[in-house]
Symmetry: C2
Subunit: 319 residues, 2 copies
Amino acid sequence: MKETYYLGADIGGTTVKLAVISDNGEINKKWEIPTNIENSGESIPSDIHQAFEKALDELHIEKEQIAGIGAGAPGFVDTETGYIFEAVNIGWKDFDFGKKLSDMAGLPVWVDNDANLAALGENWLGAGKGSQNLIAITLGTGVGGGIIANGGILNGANGTAAEIGHMTVIPEGGAPCNCGKTGCLETETSATGIVRKASNMLKKYPDTSMSSLIEAGNLTAKDVFRAASEDDQAAKEVLEDVFEVLGRAIANLAIAINPEKIVIGGGVSQAGDQLLKPLEAVYRKYALRRTEEATSFGIAELGNDAGVIGGAFLVKKNQ
Amino acid sequence: MKETYYLGADIGGTTVKLAVISDNGEINKKWEIPTNIENSGESIPSDIHQAFEKALDELHIEKEQIAGIGAGAPGFVDTETGYIFEAVNIGWKDFDFGKKLSDMAGLPVWVDNDANLAALGENWLGAGKGSQNLIAITLGTGVGGGIIANGGILNGANGTAAEIGHMTVIPEGGAPCNCGKTGCLETETSATGIVRKASNMLKKYPDTSMSSLIEAGNLTAKDVFRAASEDDQAAKEVLEDVFEVLGRAIANLAIAINPEKIVIGGGVSQAGDQLLKPLEAVYRKYALRRTEEATSFGIAELGNDAGVIGGAFLVKKNQ
Protein backbone atom coordinates (compact mmCIF):
# COMPACT_ATOMS: atom_id res chain seq x y z
CA MET A 1 0.00 0.00 0.00
CA LYS A 2 1.26 3.46 -0.85
CA GLU A 3 2.00 5.87 1.94
CA THR A 4 -0.61 8.39 3.06
CA TYR A 5 0.20 12.11 3.23
CA TYR A 6 -1.43 15.11 4.87
CA LEU A 7 -1.29 18.71 3.65
CA GLY A 8 -1.01 21.46 6.27
CA ALA A 9 -1.56 25.20 5.68
CA ASP A 10 -1.10 27.92 8.29
CA ILE A 11 -2.48 31.19 6.96
CA GLY A 12 -1.06 34.37 8.49
CA GLY A 13 -1.38 38.04 7.59
CA THR A 14 1.97 38.08 5.72
CA THR A 15 2.71 34.51 4.64
CA VAL A 16 0.98 31.17 4.27
CA LYS A 17 3.10 28.34 5.67
CA LEU A 18 2.65 25.05 3.86
CA ALA A 19 3.83 21.50 4.46
CA VAL A 20 3.46 17.98 3.12
CA ILE A 21 3.63 15.53 6.01
CA SER A 22 3.55 11.76 6.03
CA ASP A 23 1.55 9.54 8.36
CA ASN A 24 4.50 8.99 10.69
CA GLY A 25 4.89 12.76 11.18
CA GLU A 26 7.83 13.26 8.84
CA ILE A 27 7.86 16.65 7.09
CA ASN A 28 8.54 15.89 3.42
CA LYS A 29 8.45 19.49 2.30
CA LYS A 30 7.87 22.78 4.09
CA TRP A 31 7.71 26.21 2.49
CA GLU A 32 5.96 29.58 2.45
CA ILE A 33 4.02 31.66 -0.03
CA PRO A 34 3.03 35.31 0.39
CA THR A 35 -0.50 35.97 1.66
CA ASN A 36 -2.27 37.95 -1.04
CA ILE A 37 -4.69 40.10 0.92
CA GLU A 38 -5.85 42.07 -2.15
CA ASN A 39 -9.58 41.84 -2.94
CA SER A 40 -10.29 40.74 0.64
CA GLY A 41 -7.99 37.73 0.31
CA GLU A 42 -10.07 36.19 -2.48
CA SER A 43 -7.17 34.47 -4.27
CA ILE A 44 -5.83 32.68 -1.18
CA PRO A 45 -7.68 29.37 -1.75
CA SER A 46 -6.36 29.08 -5.31
CA ASP A 47 -2.86 30.25 -4.27
CA ILE A 48 -2.76 27.43 -1.71
CA HIS A 49 -4.21 24.89 -4.13
CA GLN A 50 -1.65 25.69 -6.84
CA ALA A 51 1.25 25.63 -4.41
CA PHE A 52 0.25 22.17 -3.18
CA GLU A 53 -0.28 20.85 -6.76
CA LYS A 54 3.19 21.97 -7.76
CA ALA A 55 4.82 20.49 -4.66
CA LEU A 56 3.09 17.12 -5.03
CA ASP A 57 4.28 17.01 -8.64
CA GLU A 58 7.86 17.64 -7.54
CA LEU A 59 7.61 15.05 -4.76
CA HIS A 60 6.03 12.48 -7.12
CA ILE A 61 3.14 12.02 -4.73
CA GLU A 62 -0.15 11.00 -6.32
CA LYS A 63 -3.41 12.64 -5.41
CA GLU A 64 -4.97 9.43 -4.10
CA GLN A 65 -2.22 9.30 -1.48
CA ILE A 66 -3.44 12.58 0.05
CA ALA A 67 -5.97 12.19 2.87
CA GLY A 68 -6.86 15.87 2.88
CA ILE A 69 -5.87 19.42 3.74
CA GLY A 70 -5.86 20.86 7.27
CA ALA A 71 -5.73 24.65 7.37
CA GLY A 72 -5.56 27.27 10.11
CA ALA A 73 -6.50 30.94 10.02
CA PRO A 74 -6.36 33.67 12.66
CA GLY A 75 -10.06 34.23 13.28
CA PHE A 76 -13.41 32.70 14.08
CA VAL A 77 -14.05 29.51 12.17
CA ASP A 78 -17.03 27.21 11.76
CA THR A 79 -15.05 23.99 12.03
CA GLU A 80 -17.96 21.87 10.75
CA THR A 81 -17.89 23.57 7.36
CA GLY A 82 -14.59 25.47 7.16
CA TYR A 83 -16.52 28.73 6.87
CA ILE A 84 -14.64 31.79 8.18
CA PHE A 85 -16.85 34.19 10.10
CA GLU A 86 -14.07 36.73 10.32
CA ALA A 87 -10.27 36.85 10.00
CA VAL A 88 -9.39 40.52 10.31
CA ASN A 89 -5.66 40.35 9.37
CA ILE A 90 -6.45 38.55 6.13
CA GLY A 91 -9.51 40.56 5.16
CA TRP A 92 -11.93 37.63 5.21
CA LYS A 93 -15.46 38.14 6.44
CA ASP A 94 -18.13 35.48 5.87
CA PHE A 95 -15.74 33.70 3.53
CA ASP A 96 -16.48 30.10 2.55
CA PHE A 97 -12.82 29.15 2.58
CA GLY A 98 -13.13 25.42 3.30
CA LYS A 99 -15.60 24.75 0.51
CA LYS A 100 -13.68 26.87 -2.03
CA LEU A 101 -10.40 25.07 -1.33
CA SER A 102 -12.06 21.65 -1.21
CA ASP A 103 -13.85 22.19 -4.54
CA MET A 104 -10.63 23.30 -6.23
CA ALA A 105 -8.43 20.60 -4.79
CA GLY A 106 -10.95 17.77 -4.96
CA LEU A 107 -9.89 16.85 -1.42
CA PRO A 108 -11.55 17.01 1.99
CA VAL A 109 -10.55 20.16 3.89
CA TRP A 110 -10.70 20.79 7.65
CA VAL A 111 -10.24 24.29 9.04
CA ASP A 112 -9.64 25.59 12.56
CA ASN A 113 -8.17 28.71 14.08
CA ASP A 114 -4.39 29.07 14.19
CA ALA A 115 -4.02 28.83 17.98
CA ASN A 116 -6.00 25.59 18.04
CA LEU A 117 -3.86 24.16 15.22
CA ALA A 118 -0.68 25.05 17.11
CA ALA A 119 -2.04 23.15 20.13
CA LEU A 120 -2.84 20.17 17.91
CA GLY A 121 0.66 20.26 16.42
CA GLU A 122 2.28 20.16 19.86
CA ASN A 123 -0.17 17.39 20.75
CA TRP A 124 0.99 15.24 17.83
CA LEU A 125 4.74 15.77 17.64
CA GLY A 126 5.76 18.37 20.25
CA ALA A 127 5.73 19.10 23.96
CA GLY A 128 2.20 17.77 24.46
CA LYS A 129 2.73 14.52 22.59
CA GLY A 130 -0.12 12.09 23.14
CA SER A 131 -1.89 14.10 25.86
CA GLN A 132 -5.63 13.53 25.96
CA ASN A 133 -6.10 16.74 27.98
CA LEU A 134 -3.85 19.67 27.18
CA ILE A 135 -3.82 23.43 27.58
CA ALA A 136 -1.53 25.29 25.15
CA ILE A 137 -0.87 28.97 25.73
CA THR A 138 0.89 31.27 23.27
CA LEU A 139 2.50 34.34 24.83
CA GLY A 140 3.34 36.74 22.03
CA THR A 141 2.06 40.16 21.01
CA GLY A 142 -1.23 38.81 22.32
CA VAL A 143 -2.14 35.75 24.38
CA GLY A 144 -3.73 32.86 22.51
CA GLY A 145 -4.77 29.40 23.53
CA GLY A 146 -5.81 25.98 22.42
CA ILE A 147 -7.43 23.32 24.59
CA ILE A 148 -7.58 19.59 23.96
CA ALA A 149 -10.01 17.60 26.12
CA ASN A 150 -11.01 13.95 25.75
CA GLY A 151 -8.47 13.88 22.92
CA GLY A 152 -10.31 16.48 20.83
CA ILE A 153 -9.78 20.19 20.24
CA LEU A 154 -12.38 22.44 21.89
CA ASN A 155 -14.12 24.79 19.49
CA GLY A 156 -17.27 25.56 21.44
CA ALA A 157 -20.62 26.86 20.29
CA ASN A 158 -19.31 29.46 17.82
CA GLY A 159 -15.55 29.02 17.54
CA THR A 160 -14.46 31.09 20.55
CA ALA A 161 -13.42 28.26 22.89
CA ALA A 162 -9.93 28.59 24.37
CA GLU A 163 -9.74 32.36 23.80
CA ILE A 164 -7.70 32.32 26.97
CA GLY A 165 -6.27 35.80 26.46
CA HIS A 166 -9.68 37.26 27.28
CA MET A 167 -10.16 35.83 30.74
CA THR A 168 -10.71 38.81 33.05
CA VAL A 169 -7.85 38.88 35.54
CA ILE A 170 -8.07 42.51 36.72
CA PRO A 171 -11.78 43.08 37.40
CA GLU A 172 -11.46 46.80 38.10
CA GLY A 173 -9.16 49.41 36.61
CA GLY A 174 -7.35 47.02 34.27
CA ALA A 175 -5.76 48.12 31.01
CA PRO A 176 -8.02 48.31 27.93
CA CYS A 177 -7.90 45.28 25.61
CA ASN A 178 -8.42 45.14 21.84
CA CYS A 179 -11.54 43.04 22.47
CA GLY A 180 -13.30 46.01 24.07
CA LYS A 181 -13.05 44.79 27.67
CA THR A 182 -10.45 45.75 30.28
CA GLY A 183 -8.12 43.74 32.49
CA CYS A 184 -7.89 40.73 30.15
CA LEU A 185 -5.09 38.19 30.65
CA GLU A 186 -3.65 39.42 27.33
CA THR A 187 -3.24 42.97 28.62
CA GLU A 188 -1.31 41.69 31.65
CA THR A 189 0.88 38.85 30.40
CA SER A 190 1.51 39.29 26.66
CA ALA A 191 4.87 40.62 25.45
CA THR A 192 3.08 43.91 24.87
CA GLY A 193 1.71 43.88 28.41
CA ILE A 194 5.10 43.08 29.91
CA VAL A 195 6.67 46.02 28.07
CA ARG A 196 3.87 48.36 29.16
CA LYS A 197 4.17 47.33 32.78
CA ALA A 198 7.96 47.64 32.76
CA SER A 199 7.74 51.09 31.16
CA ASN A 200 5.35 52.18 33.90
CA MET A 201 8.00 51.24 36.47
CA LEU A 202 10.22 54.17 35.46
CA LYS A 203 8.54 56.46 37.98
CA LYS A 204 9.09 54.10 40.91
CA TYR A 205 12.56 52.99 39.78
CA PRO A 206 14.15 55.85 37.75
CA ASP A 207 17.52 54.07 37.98
CA THR A 208 16.34 50.81 36.46
CA SER A 209 18.79 49.32 33.95
CA MET A 210 15.90 49.42 31.43
CA SER A 211 15.57 53.23 31.61
CA SER A 212 17.30 54.16 28.35
CA LEU A 213 15.41 51.48 26.39
CA ILE A 214 12.15 52.65 27.96
CA GLU A 215 12.87 56.29 27.13
CA ALA A 216 13.79 55.40 23.54
CA GLY A 217 10.60 53.33 23.20
CA ASN A 218 12.68 50.28 22.27
CA LEU A 219 12.09 48.01 25.26
CA THR A 220 11.12 44.40 24.47
CA ALA A 221 9.86 41.61 26.73
CA LYS A 222 13.20 39.90 26.19
CA ASP A 223 14.95 42.95 27.68
CA VAL A 224 12.73 42.71 30.76
CA PHE A 225 13.67 39.06 31.28
CA ARG A 226 17.35 39.89 30.82
CA ALA A 227 17.16 42.79 33.30
CA ALA A 228 15.43 40.53 35.83
CA SER A 229 18.13 37.89 35.44
CA GLU A 230 20.64 40.66 36.24
CA ASP A 231 18.71 41.42 39.44
CA ASP A 232 17.02 44.62 38.27
CA GLN A 233 14.32 45.29 40.87
CA ALA A 234 11.81 46.90 38.48
CA ALA A 235 12.05 44.00 36.02
CA LYS A 236 11.78 41.46 38.85
CA GLU A 237 8.61 43.09 40.18
CA VAL A 238 7.01 43.15 36.74
CA LEU A 239 7.74 39.49 36.08
CA GLU A 240 6.67 38.41 39.56
CA ASP A 241 3.32 40.03 38.88
CA VAL A 242 3.09 38.40 35.43
CA PHE A 243 3.80 34.94 36.86
CA GLU A 244 1.26 35.47 39.64
CA VAL A 245 -1.54 36.55 37.31
CA LEU A 246 -0.78 33.97 34.62
CA GLY A 247 -0.20 31.07 37.02
CA ARG A 248 -3.50 31.76 38.77
CA ALA A 249 -5.38 32.02 35.46
CA ILE A 250 -3.90 28.70 34.32
CA ALA A 251 -4.87 27.11 37.65
CA ASN A 252 -8.45 28.30 37.20
CA LEU A 253 -8.50 26.89 33.68
CA ALA A 254 -6.99 23.63 34.86
CA ILE A 255 -9.77 23.25 37.42
CA ALA A 256 -12.16 23.09 34.47
CA ILE A 257 -10.00 20.92 32.17
CA ASN A 258 -7.74 18.86 34.50
CA PRO A 259 -4.93 18.64 31.92
CA GLU A 260 -1.96 16.31 32.09
CA LYS A 261 0.11 18.84 30.16
CA ILE A 262 0.39 22.61 29.98
CA VAL A 263 2.47 23.87 27.04
CA ILE A 264 3.73 27.46 26.88
CA GLY A 265 4.71 28.82 23.47
CA GLY A 266 5.15 32.11 21.64
CA GLY A 267 8.00 34.62 21.74
CA VAL A 268 7.90 35.10 25.53
CA SER A 269 8.42 31.34 26.02
CA GLN A 270 11.98 31.75 24.76
CA ALA A 271 12.74 32.76 28.35
CA GLY A 272 12.59 29.01 29.10
CA ASP A 273 13.03 28.04 32.73
CA GLN A 274 13.19 31.68 33.81
CA LEU A 275 9.49 31.72 32.91
CA LEU A 276 8.49 28.12 33.45
CA LYS A 277 9.78 27.46 36.98
CA PRO A 278 8.17 30.41 38.79
CA LEU A 279 5.00 30.06 36.69
CA GLU A 280 4.70 26.42 37.64
CA ALA A 281 5.17 27.27 41.33
CA VAL A 282 2.29 29.78 41.24
CA TYR A 283 0.14 27.25 39.37
CA ARG A 284 0.77 24.57 41.97
CA LYS A 285 -0.16 27.00 44.75
CA TYR A 286 -3.57 27.85 43.26
CA ALA A 287 -4.61 24.54 41.65
CA LEU A 288 -6.42 21.79 43.55
CA ARG A 289 -3.83 19.37 44.94
CA ARG A 290 -5.17 16.42 42.96
CA THR A 291 -5.39 18.52 39.80
CA GLU A 292 -1.83 19.83 39.96
CA GLU A 293 -0.46 16.37 40.73
CA ALA A 294 -1.67 15.27 37.30
CA THR A 295 -0.01 18.16 35.44
CA SER A 296 3.42 18.67 33.96
CA PHE A 297 4.64 21.87 32.26
CA GLY A 298 6.65 22.26 29.09
CA ILE A 299 7.84 24.84 26.59
CA ALA A 300 6.41 24.43 23.07
CA GLU A 301 8.85 22.54 20.83
CA LEU A 302 7.67 23.08 17.27
CA GLY A 303 8.04 26.85 16.92
CA ASN A 304 6.67 28.15 13.62
CA ASP A 305 6.00 24.61 12.38
CA ALA A 306 3.30 23.93 15.00
CA GLY A 307 0.52 25.25 12.76
CA VAL A 308 1.22 23.17 9.65
CA ILE A 309 1.87 20.07 11.76
CA GLY A 310 -1.41 20.70 13.57
CA GLY A 311 -3.14 21.06 10.20
CA ALA A 312 -1.81 17.68 9.13
CA PHE A 313 -2.89 16.16 12.45
CA LEU A 314 -6.38 17.60 12.01
CA VAL A 315 -6.65 15.60 8.78
CA LYS A 316 -5.16 12.49 10.38
CA LYS A 317 -7.69 12.65 13.25
CA ASN A 318 -10.67 13.21 10.99
CA GLN A 319 -9.88 10.98 8.02
CA MET B 1 -37.79 -5.47 18.66
CA LYS B 2 -38.17 -5.18 22.41
CA GLU B 3 -37.54 -1.83 24.03
CA THR B 4 -34.14 -0.99 25.51
CA TYR B 5 -33.82 0.22 29.11
CA TYR B 6 -31.07 1.94 31.09
CA LEU B 7 -30.46 1.63 34.83
CA GLY B 8 -29.35 4.76 36.72
CA ALA B 9 -27.92 4.86 40.25
CA ASP B 10 -27.00 8.03 42.14
CA ILE B 11 -25.07 7.12 45.29
CA GLY B 12 -25.17 9.65 48.11
CA GLY B 13 -24.00 9.51 51.72
CA THR B 14 -27.52 8.71 53.02
CA THR B 15 -29.49 7.14 50.17
CA VAL B 16 -28.90 5.59 46.77
CA LYS B 17 -31.37 6.88 44.21
CA LEU B 18 -32.29 4.33 41.54
CA ALA B 19 -34.27 4.44 38.32
CA VAL B 20 -35.22 2.32 35.33
CA ILE B 21 -35.42 4.54 32.26
CA SER B 22 -36.43 3.70 28.71
CA ASP B 23 -34.69 4.80 25.55
CA ASN B 24 -37.09 7.71 25.00
CA GLY B 25 -36.31 9.09 28.47
CA GLU B 26 -39.42 7.85 30.24
CA ILE B 27 -38.84 6.97 33.91
CA ASN B 28 -40.48 3.56 34.41
CA LYS B 29 -39.61 3.31 38.07
CA LYS B 30 -37.75 5.53 40.49
CA TRP B 31 -36.99 4.74 44.12
CA GLU B 32 -34.38 4.95 46.91
CA ILE B 33 -32.54 2.52 49.14
CA PRO B 34 -30.47 3.45 52.21
CA THR B 35 -26.71 3.79 51.67
CA ASN B 36 -25.06 1.19 53.92
CA ILE B 37 -21.77 2.82 54.83
CA GLU B 38 -20.79 0.04 57.27
CA ASN B 39 -17.53 -1.78 56.47
CA SER B 40 -16.42 1.11 54.27
CA GLY B 41 -19.49 0.79 52.07
CA GLU B 42 -18.60 -2.73 50.97
CA SER B 43 -22.18 -3.97 50.50
CA ILE B 44 -23.29 -1.11 48.25
CA PRO B 45 -22.62 -2.87 44.93
CA SER B 46 -24.70 -5.90 45.94
CA ASP B 47 -27.41 -3.68 47.51
CA ILE B 48 -27.75 -1.87 44.17
CA HIS B 49 -27.64 -5.09 42.17
CA GLN B 50 -30.38 -6.73 44.26
CA ALA B 51 -32.60 -3.64 44.15
CA PHE B 52 -32.39 -3.56 40.35
CA GLU B 53 -33.03 -7.32 40.01
CA LYS B 54 -36.19 -7.02 42.10
CA ALA B 55 -37.45 -4.00 40.20
CA LEU B 56 -36.88 -5.58 36.78
CA ASP B 57 -38.81 -8.65 37.95
CA GLU B 58 -41.74 -6.47 39.01
CA LEU B 59 -41.63 -4.52 35.75
CA HIS B 60 -41.39 -7.73 33.67
CA ILE B 61 -38.30 -6.40 31.92
CA GLU B 62 -35.86 -9.04 30.70
CA LYS B 63 -32.15 -8.77 31.27
CA GLU B 64 -31.32 -8.68 27.56
CA GLN B 65 -33.35 -5.47 27.31
CA ILE B 66 -30.94 -3.68 29.68
CA ALA B 67 -28.09 -1.86 27.94
CA GLY B 68 -26.20 -1.29 31.19
CA ILE B 69 -25.94 0.59 34.47
CA GLY B 70 -24.77 4.20 34.82
CA ALA B 71 -23.79 5.15 38.35
CA GLY B 72 -22.62 8.34 40.05
CA ALA B 73 -20.73 8.79 43.30
CA PRO B 74 -19.51 11.91 45.11
CA GLY B 75 -15.77 11.56 44.65
CA PHE B 76 -12.89 11.03 42.26
CA VAL B 77 -13.61 8.35 39.70
CA ASP B 78 -11.58 6.61 37.01
CA THR B 79 -14.27 6.74 34.37
CA GLU B 80 -12.45 4.26 32.12
CA THR B 81 -12.76 1.48 34.68
CA GLY B 82 -15.34 2.64 37.24
CA TYR B 83 -12.66 2.54 39.93
CA ILE B 84 -13.26 4.96 42.82
CA PHE B 85 -10.09 6.66 44.04
CA GLU B 86 -11.92 8.22 46.95
CA ALA B 87 -15.52 9.01 47.98
CA VAL B 88 -15.23 10.35 51.51
CA ASN B 89 -18.95 10.49 52.44
CA ILE B 90 -19.44 6.85 51.51
CA GLY B 91 -16.22 5.53 52.99
CA TRP B 92 -14.78 4.25 49.71
CA LYS B 93 -11.08 4.51 49.06
CA ASP B 94 -9.45 2.64 46.18
CA PHE B 95 -12.69 0.73 45.70
CA ASP B 96 -13.24 -1.19 42.46
CA PHE B 97 -16.93 -0.33 42.36
CA GLY B 98 -17.55 -0.55 38.61
CA LYS B 99 -16.04 -4.01 38.25
CA LYS B 100 -17.79 -5.37 41.35
CA LEU B 101 -21.20 -4.19 40.18
CA SER B 102 -20.59 -5.30 36.61
CA ASP B 103 -19.50 -8.80 37.68
CA MET B 104 -22.56 -9.23 39.89
CA ALA B 105 -25.06 -7.84 37.43
CA GLY B 106 -23.56 -9.35 34.31
CA LEU B 107 -24.03 -5.94 32.68
CA PRO B 108 -21.70 -3.18 31.48
CA VAL B 109 -21.33 -0.44 34.10
CA TRP B 110 -20.19 3.16 33.58
CA VAL B 111 -19.33 5.36 36.55
CA ASP B 112 -18.76 9.10 36.90
CA ASN B 113 -18.94 11.62 39.70
CA ASP B 114 -22.31 12.88 40.82
CA ALA B 115 -21.92 16.47 39.60
CA ASN B 116 -20.98 15.24 36.12
CA LEU B 117 -23.98 12.90 36.05
CA ALA B 118 -26.30 15.75 37.04
CA ALA B 119 -24.92 17.77 34.11
CA LEU B 120 -25.48 14.81 31.79
CA GLY B 121 -29.05 14.43 33.05
CA GLU B 122 -29.84 18.08 32.34
CA ASN B 123 -28.16 17.59 28.96
CA TRP B 124 -30.49 14.72 28.04
CA LEU B 125 -33.87 15.73 29.40
CA GLY B 126 -33.53 19.02 31.29
CA ALA B 127 -32.49 22.65 30.91
CA GLY B 128 -29.46 21.81 28.76
CA LYS B 129 -31.29 19.51 26.38
CA GLY B 130 -29.19 18.67 23.34
CA SER B 131 -26.38 21.16 24.04
CA GLN B 132 -23.02 20.07 22.67
CA ASN B 133 -21.24 22.53 24.97
CA LEU B 134 -22.68 23.07 28.43
CA ILE B 135 -21.56 24.29 31.84
CA ALA B 136 -23.71 23.08 34.76
CA ILE B 137 -23.15 24.64 38.17
CA THR B 138 -24.67 23.35 41.40
CA LEU B 139 -24.98 25.95 44.15
CA GLY B 140 -25.69 24.11 47.39
CA THR B 141 -23.75 23.55 50.60
CA GLY B 142 -20.78 23.54 48.24
CA VAL B 143 -20.34 24.53 44.60
CA GLY B 144 -20.09 21.68 42.10
CA GLY B 145 -19.87 21.58 38.36
CA GLY B 146 -20.12 19.47 35.27
CA ILE B 147 -18.88 20.45 31.81
CA ILE B 148 -19.92 19.00 28.48
CA ALA B 149 -17.74 19.88 25.48
CA ASN B 150 -17.92 18.46 21.96
CA GLY B 151 -20.94 16.50 23.25
CA GLY B 152 -18.94 14.60 25.89
CA ILE B 153 -18.50 15.03 29.63
CA LEU B 154 -15.07 16.33 30.69
CA ASN B 155 -13.30 14.11 33.20
CA GLY B 156 -9.73 15.23 32.70
CA ALA B 157 -6.47 13.50 33.50
CA ASN B 158 -7.49 12.15 36.92
CA GLY B 159 -11.19 12.84 37.40
CA THR B 160 -10.97 16.42 38.71
CA ALA B 161 -12.23 18.26 35.61
CA ALA B 162 -15.09 20.71 36.24
CA GLU B 163 -14.33 21.07 39.98
CA ILE B 164 -15.55 24.60 39.46
CA GLY B 165 -16.02 25.31 43.17
CA HIS B 166 -12.26 25.43 43.56
CA MET B 167 -11.45 28.21 41.13
CA THR B 168 -9.59 30.88 43.10
CA VAL B 169 -11.71 34.02 43.07
CA ILE B 170 -10.23 35.87 46.06
CA PRO B 171 -6.44 35.58 45.61
CA GLU B 172 -5.53 37.16 48.93
CA GLY B 173 -7.25 36.99 52.30
CA GLY B 174 -10.13 34.80 51.13
CA ALA B 175 -12.02 32.44 53.45
CA PRO B 176 -10.52 28.96 54.02
CA CYS B 177 -12.00 26.17 51.89
CA ASN B 178 -12.35 22.46 52.74
CA CYS B 179 -9.90 21.72 49.93
CA GLY B 180 -7.05 23.36 51.86
CA LYS B 181 -6.88 26.52 49.73
CA THR B 182 -8.45 29.91 50.44
CA GLY B 183 -10.74 32.17 48.42
CA CYS B 184 -12.31 29.39 46.34
CA LEU B 185 -15.54 30.07 44.43
CA GLU B 186 -17.24 27.67 46.84
CA THR B 187 -16.35 29.79 49.88
CA GLU B 188 -17.85 32.88 48.23
CA THR B 189 -20.98 31.69 46.42
CA SER B 190 -22.26 28.47 48.04
CA ALA B 191 -25.29 28.61 50.36
CA THR B 192 -22.79 28.30 53.21
CA GLY B 193 -20.76 31.20 51.84
CA ILE B 194 -23.82 33.40 51.40
CA VAL B 195 -24.86 32.77 55.02
CA ARG B 196 -21.35 33.52 56.28
CA LYS B 197 -21.14 36.76 54.34
CA ALA B 198 -24.60 37.87 55.45
CA SER B 199 -23.75 37.10 59.08
CA ASN B 200 -20.62 39.22 58.79
CA MET B 201 -22.82 42.16 57.74
CA LEU B 202 -24.28 42.50 61.23
CA LYS B 203 -21.51 44.90 62.27
CA LYS B 204 -22.07 47.24 59.34
CA TYR B 205 -25.88 46.93 59.39
CA PRO B 206 -26.98 46.11 62.98
CA ASP B 207 -30.58 46.89 62.00
CA THR B 208 -30.74 44.40 59.12
CA SER B 209 -34.00 42.41 58.98
CA MET B 210 -31.83 39.29 59.20
CA SER B 211 -30.37 40.20 62.62
CA SER B 212 -32.45 37.86 64.80
CA LEU B 213 -31.86 34.90 62.47
CA ILE B 214 -28.14 35.69 62.39
CA GLU B 215 -27.94 35.93 66.18
CA ALA B 216 -29.85 32.66 66.59
CA GLY B 217 -27.51 30.99 64.07
CA ASN B 218 -30.54 30.00 61.95
CA LEU B 219 -29.98 32.11 58.84
CA THR B 220 -30.27 30.31 55.49
CA ALA B 221 -29.39 31.44 51.98
CA LYS B 222 -33.13 31.49 51.25
CA ASP B 223 -33.57 34.07 54.04
CA VAL B 224 -30.89 36.25 52.45
CA PHE B 225 -32.68 36.19 49.10
CA ARG B 226 -36.00 36.99 50.79
CA ALA B 227 -34.47 39.89 52.75
CA ALA B 228 -32.94 41.26 49.54
CA SER B 229 -36.29 41.07 47.76
CA GLU B 230 -37.69 43.14 50.66
CA ASP B 231 -34.99 45.76 50.05
CA ASP B 232 -32.74 44.90 53.00
CA GLN B 233 -29.45 46.71 52.28
CA ALA B 234 -27.19 44.13 53.95
CA ALA B 235 -28.75 41.26 52.00
CA LYS B 236 -28.60 43.24 48.75
CA GLU B 237 -24.89 43.96 49.19
CA VAL B 238 -24.13 40.30 49.91
CA LEU B 239 -25.97 39.07 46.85
CA GLU B 240 -24.54 41.78 44.61
CA ASP B 241 -21.10 40.56 45.59
CA VAL B 242 -22.09 36.91 45.02
CA PHE B 243 -23.42 37.67 41.54
CA GLU B 244 -20.30 39.67 40.68
CA VAL B 245 -17.87 36.94 41.76
CA LEU B 246 -19.90 34.06 40.29
CA GLY B 247 -20.74 35.82 37.03
CA ARG B 248 -17.09 36.68 36.46
CA ALA B 249 -15.96 33.12 37.24
CA ILE B 250 -18.54 31.73 34.79
CA ALA B 251 -17.38 34.21 32.14
CA ASN B 252 -13.77 33.05 32.61
CA LEU B 253 -14.88 29.42 32.30
CA ALA B 254 -16.96 30.23 29.25
CA ILE B 255 -13.92 31.76 27.54
CA ALA B 256 -12.38 28.29 27.73
CA ILE B 257 -15.50 26.26 26.83
CA ASN B 258 -17.69 28.63 24.72
CA PRO B 259 -20.93 26.97 25.87
CA GLU B 260 -24.33 27.44 24.29
CA LYS B 261 -25.99 26.80 27.65
CA ILE B 262 -25.22 27.54 31.29
CA VAL B 263 -27.42 25.67 33.75
CA ILE B 264 -27.63 26.67 37.42
CA GLY B 265 -28.91 24.07 39.88
CA GLY B 266 -28.79 23.20 43.58
CA GLY B 267 -30.71 24.69 46.50
CA VAL B 268 -29.65 28.29 45.83
CA SER B 269 -31.08 28.06 42.28
CA GLN B 270 -34.60 27.98 43.80
CA ALA B 271 -34.23 31.77 43.86
CA GLY B 272 -34.99 31.59 40.13
CA ASP B 273 -34.89 34.89 38.28
CA GLN B 274 -33.79 36.76 41.40
CA LEU B 275 -30.49 34.87 40.91
CA LEU B 276 -30.48 34.29 37.18
CA LYS B 277 -31.10 37.79 35.82
CA PRO B 278 -28.36 39.70 37.69
CA LEU B 279 -25.95 36.76 37.29
CA GLU B 280 -26.49 36.75 33.56
CA ALA B 281 -25.90 40.52 33.40
CA VAL B 282 -22.53 40.18 35.14
CA TYR B 283 -21.63 37.27 32.85
CA ARG B 284 -22.41 39.28 29.74
CA LYS B 285 -20.27 42.14 31.02
CA TYR B 286 -17.17 39.99 31.50
CA ALA B 287 -17.47 37.46 28.65
CA LEU B 288 -16.13 38.11 25.14
CA ARG B 289 -18.94 39.59 23.04
CA ARG B 290 -18.97 36.72 20.57
CA THR B 291 -18.85 34.16 23.39
CA GLU B 292 -21.77 35.60 25.34
CA GLU B 293 -23.86 35.95 22.18
CA ALA B 294 -23.79 32.16 21.88
CA THR B 295 -24.92 31.54 25.47
CA SER B 296 -28.30 31.23 27.11
CA PHE B 297 -28.90 30.71 30.84
CA GLY B 298 -31.36 28.40 32.55
CA ILE B 299 -32.28 26.96 35.94
CA ALA B 300 -31.82 23.19 36.27
CA GLU B 301 -35.11 21.36 35.68
CA LEU B 302 -34.62 17.84 36.94
CA GLY B 303 -33.99 18.44 40.66
CA ASN B 304 -33.04 15.26 42.51
CA ASP B 305 -33.69 13.12 39.44
CA ALA B 306 -30.81 14.65 37.47
CA GLY B 307 -28.31 12.07 38.75
CA VAL B 308 -30.24 8.91 37.82
CA ILE B 309 -31.26 10.38 34.48
CA GLY B 310 -27.62 11.29 33.85
CA GLY B 311 -26.63 7.73 34.76
CA ALA B 312 -29.06 6.36 32.19
CA PHE B 313 -27.76 8.82 29.58
CA LEU B 314 -24.18 7.74 30.31
CA VAL B 315 -25.21 4.21 29.28
CA LYS B 316 -27.13 5.44 26.25
CA LYS B 317 -24.12 7.46 25.04
CA ASN B 318 -21.65 4.62 25.56
CA GLN B 319 -23.66 1.57 24.50
